[in-house]
Amino acid sequence: MTDWQPGISLSRLRQRSRVLAELRSFFQQRHFLEVDVPVLATTSVTDRNIESIAASVAGVSAYLQTSPEYFMKRLLAAGSGDIFCLGKAFRNGEAGSRHNPEFTLLEWYRCGWDEHQLMDEVSDLICGLLPDTGVVKISYGDLFFAHLQVDPHQAALSSLQKLAVEASSSAWSNESRANCLDLLFSVVIEPLLADGLVLVYDYPACQAALANCYQDPQGRQVSRRFEAFLNRVELANGYSELTDAQEQASRFSADQQARKIAGKPTMDIDRRLLGALQSGLPHCSGVALGVDRLLMQIENATSIDQVMPFSWDHC
């Protein structure tokens, strides 16, 4: 019997340990507070496309957390200042060459910063670990226009559906704006991204998630959300954080509605998070970065299970 063995080689296990230590030291040098928030809680996210893993604690239903975001925001509202968390997150049904249902997430928040300052910090972190990494910053709208000659913020839904059908199949002719944009980004644009670190900002308002929205210089409503891609692999997602409790509550309700329509189980809204926003979340920006994917890039690994001690297949 050999299936007791780990999926990772010993040299990569040592590299993993070094990278975890370097990540910690990056934030310690910048005077962050490390916080280890719970991974098990009685509520979880309402996200339309993120599924929590359910658990049961002494008969009370609970969930493994899909990110440390809500707990970290409660700490920020309590006055923690800049914080980072290097820990585990869980997402149900996500398994593949770049996904594992349990993974290591690095998340950090900068008080008083906007998303562009935070993008620069992501770039500092990556270039520290991978010297000579090229860095490109481009807006979501410019990227779409360059590759698909369409304005993703203002184009009619029917024209996005038409592009989605062309990029895949007729099954996409009735999809939502957000789903069509995700398909086009993943299938058409992502494979064409430059080598190195590509920071994409001003995501569509329909994909704002927990980011502030604003009118861009062209007068389009966009979100202050960004994503980082390293060698065409999605690595990090960040926001200038939404601090308006009322707006947050209405986005959560819209999520629940969308989940109902899609026939997915709905999740109760995290009242404690809303309480924190009501009491006052400082103006801040935050980002979450997939550590296993970062290791895949550092190690030139083709599959996430080559850089995790035990991926789900081994558990």
Binding site: D47, N49, I50, G93, E94, A95, G96, S97, R98, H99, A167, S168, S169, A171, E175, A178, N179, D182, L183, F185, S186, V187, Q207, A209, E227, E234, N237, A288, G290
Partner: protein, 190 residues
Amino acid sequence: MANYSTNEFRSGLKVMLDGDPCSILDNEFVKPGKGQAFSRVKLRNLKTARVLEKTFKSGESLEAADVMDMDMQYLYNDGDFWCFMEPDTFEQHQATENAVGDALMWLNEQDICVVTLYNGSPLSVTPPIHVELEIVETDPGLRGDTAQGGNKPAKLSTGAVVKVPLFLDQGEIVRVDTRTGEYQGRVTSK
């Protein structure tokens, strides 16, 4: 027939797509962090042999295709159809020229081939990886030239033309790899 959901898609699974039977070659899970999950699937259309790439939403499903691979013995060609027999039941199946396709030039009577049945009828034929066939036409052999260097075209009993070493003669049996059409060796000599 049953339906298969994207999370059951595996290499080798036979499904119906736009009315044609297809074989799944590869299924990749794709999911933007905050976005919709997809399956990027590579499929081979079993009628046309064309490879397609489709992106499905996670949870979408496709109908299973009634497709089955079976070992069968090639019997004869009656001018219109190629006749194959199941060795256990002796049941015979008529394959059209379209279904036989490129296997045509390797079909040797009595050989066991893989016949792919779709709704019970032959859809395609895969010849054995190695076949032994007689040379029916080639330039006379050059005696003594057994070591190396040079080859010549030889027409085999099935009509296939392969390159063989210069020393071989008409009437000899050669072994050929049907995947590449390459000569593998001499089976008997006169």
